[in-house]
């Protein structure tokens, strides 16, 4: 297989069947998988999702930022307001997920690094959880939001007057005098970027290692044919 770009034409990889390949073909997928791991781990330090509440008496708005392992921003004030509606404290949703998230993300990153050393289609299996990660995050967040809107304590000051509702995962909503805007944040962007980079990495991974697997098979088949013969 010939690629247009190579680090050094004189450095070549010789496959078992004698065909040659550029070294770059193998470096590119490794680099991409490593980059994806880096992006994913960096996302730990950035918010994934935020909810901004706007009301006349909060000119700067109230913003709660959701990180994979903690909540930040005006959590205290939002809780203080939520108590009138009888909604549980924000901190109660997704406790288990937040407690596991650091270990999980590091594990996902390690799987990607492991993928660098697996030179066949099984690398795709190692990378698959990373592809699913942001989608699982959003699905879980949707579930948590549903539970918030459906855990109204009827004994609270306004609990009896509020119908159960599901706050939107993205976009605008309205709760009492508060307009809400839910939006993804940079952390989630990095997680999705990691997915893109993983898919690109797997594309080049396949381009690089399929010939190797094929060459191995060809050599094995040839040996088998020779044996039979």
């Amino acid at each position: 297989m010939k690629t247009g770009w190579t680090l050094d034409r004189d450095v070549q990889v010789v496959l078992p069947d004698g065909s040659t390949h550029s070294l770059t073909d193998y470096l590119v997928p490794s680099a991409l998988l490593m980059l994806a791991a880096l992006l994913l781990i960096s996302s730990i330090f950035l918010p994934y999702w935020s909810l901004t509440l706007k009301a006349p008496q909060y000119p700067k708005g109230l913003k709660v930022s959701v990180y994979v392992n903690h909540l930040d921003g005006d959590v205290r004030e939002v809780d203080a307001l939520n108590h009138y509606l009888g909604m549980p404290p924000l901190d109660e949703g997704g406790r288990l997920e937040r407690s596991m998230s650091m270990v999980a993300i590091v594990a996902l990153g390690l799987l990607l690094v492991a993928g660098v050393f697996v030179h066949n289609q099984w690398a795709a299996i190692l990378a698959l959880p990373v592809v699913a990660f942001p989608l699982i995050f959003l699905a879980d967040l949707g579930l948590i939001l549903y539970r918030y809107g459906h855990s109204i304590d009827p004994k609270s000051a306004l609990g009896g007057a509020i119908q159960p509702f599901t706050p939107p995962l993205f976009g605008e909503g309205k709760i009492g005098q508060f307009g809400s805007v839910a939006r993804p944040e940079l952390g989630l962007g990095l997680a999705f970027a990691a997915v893109i980079v993983v898919l690109m990495g797997l594309w080049y991974h396949r381009a690089a290692y399929k010939p190797l697997v094929d060459a191995r098979k060809r050599v094995r088949n040839l040996a088998a044919v020779q044996q039979v013969a």
Binding site: L199, W203, R218, V225
Partner: protein, 684 residues
């Protein structure tokens, strides 16, 4: 055979897997390009451009209201659209209200009161909380509570002669007291009763790095509350100037490091600290070298005539650095619990000098660089300008006459730099950035702008030591304040005339009239001063005010942590920071309550005790949101607190009355504010 195998393997690898990758990739790219920015896009708002588009009806409106172009200029200079903040903050005394006022400049909007010497319920000051202790520390003695004061001259703390925005001090002329206000929360932290003195006036002013907060005297009295008949005035009555050492870290005056200087009974008046070249010195005017003791009813000249007989009084010149050395060397007498440098020591050590000043003067205001001291004539149409350098040269030469108490008098021609005739009743002088001085003319009801000479002469087109413009104000201007106008680098821009009479400027609200603060535009040079705005002050009688750049003030938005004790400026270890820990505990006859306060409930909501119990009640506002203040009013017990977000307060009282009482939140904190209540049940 081999071809078939290869084909199958190829299918397994490339076709389906690659297709899947391509689909996933494309989806993500579409998501990134289309959906993501869509979610991020915030609603655009229509913004009006400033300075464009005077509405068509503006001219009609001005015509209908009879507004001149000057009026329109003034309106545009002072109107503050909603949400815009003033660039300057004025801190004004409140006179006999015992409070201070915080006012935005140029909008002239009152931002808040600061309760100082007077209990004030809005701030919960003096109704059961921390303020009680502050007020009590300032009582003259345990038997005589003082619940008012006469605040005169605010003094903002300074670093290198510039306001630093950390503290402000103020005196109580009526009882000779001084207060410390911390500008992190604009609350009074300390009131000190000045030993040996029964009244004061020439304070507060600070030395250039707030080493000392200086409190000058006014009416002479026997030192230490002693008794002496008035015919012993000359021998037994004395003036006293106090140098209060300020501990910036503690935010408190430290009496142990402070000292007083005994003075002749000349009714010292207003003072200022030297700065720049004159750092280490201080100056006070005086107005009763006649030693008048009144007695109009006995046929004596009344004070108003008796104290104005002499052609000159004495400008007092203090070497406070020298006084500090003398104090540290222990050449002092302990009187009334404080170190006093006796008059003879002050003379012997070269701490105190006099120089004549025209008839019953007023004010002693040091120029920004410290080169000159300007004294207003009051009954003389001039301001007299003294040169610090000339004073020093004269001191080197020596050979002075002495007054009746032995204080050296430097002749006027050896100390005076210039006199400028301004008009009738010159009182106080402040400065700007263009080399102009501004003097209030009480009798002329005018602000005089005049040109400084010396190093300031090159800053303005006029010759030095000349009158530039007199602007009429309404009426009887007392003090005058300019933006940072008594610091080492005044800002110019604005002057405020603090007028004592308003007469016809406002709607008639009865025979007690508001005072009139008039804002004056001083941004342009020459005779271009313009009157901008009248602000009625209907709750106080301010004397002096200072104007600080707003961005120098770094006040808390909410108290830094929940459970904050504003007295100690730290978290109170007794504070409860979560409703789970709120409780009532009884030990014998003492009941201790730990209560949390948050929208819209107290925890607990029932407190049941017995008549005669001693109650200690801790309250913590758990809020972290700006403006989420709660009140705590306990009916029938004269208790009312203001609990700002994070604040902790402790009240202590005996349950002397049985019955059913309520405690409720006095701040309209939320829609369920009326429901923010609890029952206090005292069993007979």
């Amino acid at each position: 055979m081999s071809v078939a195998t290869e084909k199958r393997t190829g299918e397994h690898w490339s076709d389906r897997y690659a297709g899947l990758l391509a689909v996933g990739f494309t989806t993500l790219v579409i998501f990134a390009l289309v959906v993501w920015p869509g979610i991020w896009r915030s609603a655009g708002s229509s913004v009006q451009k400033p300075g464009v588009g005077l509405p068509a009806d503006a001219a009609t409106l001005a015509g209908e209201r009879g507004l001149t172009s000057d009026d329109i200029y003034a309106a545009l200079k002072t109107y503050m659209p909603t949400g815009q903040l003033d660039p300057y903050i004025m801190i004004a005394s409140g006179g006999q209200s015992g409070q201070m006022l915080v006012i935005g400049i140029p909008s002239m909007r009152i931002l808040r009161l600061i309760a100082v010497f007077t209990p004030e319920p809005w701030q919960g000051y003096g109704f059961g909380g921390e303020g009680d202790k502050v007020l009590k520390a300032g009582f003259v003695n345990d038997k005589q509570p003082l619940t008012w004061g006469d605040t005169h001259h605010p003094g903002l703390s300074e670093t290198k002669g510039e306001y630093d925005g950390q503290f402000v001090f103020i005196n109580d002329k009526a009882n000779a007291r001084i207060a410390v206000i911390d500008l992190r929360d604009f609350e009074t932290k300390q009131i000190i009763k000045t030993p040996n003195a029964i009244n004061d006036h020439g304070g507060t002013f600070v030395t250039p790095n707030t080493e000392y907060v200086v409190e000058g005297p006014q009416y002479a009295a026997p030192i230490g509350y002693g008794y002496a008949p008035l015919d012993q005035y000359k021998d037994k009555y004395r003036g006293l100037i106090t140098f209060w050492a300020f501990d910036r870290v503690q935010g408190r005056i430290d009496p142990a490091r402070s000292f007083q200087i005994e003075l002749p009974p000349y009714w010292q008046d207003l003072c200022d600290a030297g700065k720049g070249v004159s750092e280490g010195w201080a100056f006070c005017n005086s107005f009763n070298t006649e030693l008048a003791t009144g007695g109009i009813e006995l046929g004596n000249p009344p004070f108003e005539a008796g104290t104005t007989k002499n052609d000159t009084d004495f400008l007092h010149i203090f070497n406070w650095k020298k006084a500090e050395e003398v104090f540290k060397a222990g050449k002092v007498e302990k009187i009334g619990g404080i170190a006093v440098i006796r008059l003879q020591t002050a003379i012997d050590e070269g701490i105190l000098y006099f120089t004549p000043e025209p008839k019953s003067p007023h004010g002693a205001d040091v120029t920004p660089g410290g080169e000159y001291v300007v004294v207003g004539g009051k009954l003389d149409p001039h301001v007299t300008i003294y040169s610090y350098q000339k004073i020093q040269d004269a001191l080197k030469a020596g050979g002075f006459d002495k007054d009746a108490y032995g204080v050296p008098i430097i002749p006027l021609d050896k100390t005076m730099e210039a006199q400028v005739e301004l008009g009738l009743g010159p009182l106080h002088t402040v400065y700007d950035d263009k080399g102009y001085a501004y003097t209030s003319l009480f009798l002329d009801s005018a602000v005089a702008r005049w040109a400084l000479g010396g190093p300031y002469a090159s800053k303005h087109p006029e010759p030095g030591w000349t009158l530039v413009q007199k602007l009429p104000v309404h009426y009887n201007i007392g003090h005058i304040a300019a933006a940072e106008g008594d610091t080492a680098s005044p800002d110019g821009q604005y002057v405020v005339a603090l007028n004592k009479w308003s007469i016809d400027r406002f709607a008639n609200v009865g025979p007690l009239l508001p005072q009139n603060f008039q804002l004056v535009d001083i941004a342009k040079t020459g005779d271009q001063m313009k009157l901008l705005y009248d602000m009625p002050i209907g709750m106080a009688e301010p004397h002096y005010a200072q104007i600080i750049k707003a961005d120098k003030l770094k006040a808390f938005e909410v108290y830094p942590e929940v459970g904050w004790d504003p007295g100690k400026m730290a978290v109170d270890p007794k504070a409860v920071t979560a409703p789970e820990n709120a409780r009532v505990e009884r030990k014998g006859n003492t009941v201790e309550v730990w209560m949390t306060v948050v929208r819209s409930h107290f925890t607990p909501e029932r407190v049941e005790i017995n008549k005669g119990d001693h109650v200690i009640w801790h309250l913590t506002n758990l809020e972290r949101t700006r403006d989420a203040t709660h009140g705590f009013a306990l009916s029938g017990y004269n208790i009312n607190l203001s609990l700002e977000p994070g604040e902790n307060q402790t009240i202590e009282f005996d349950a002397t009355q049985s019955g059913v009482f309520t405690y409720y939140c006095t701040e309209f904190c939320s829609a369920l504010h009326l429901e923010m209540v609890g029952y206090f049940l005292v069993k007979p």
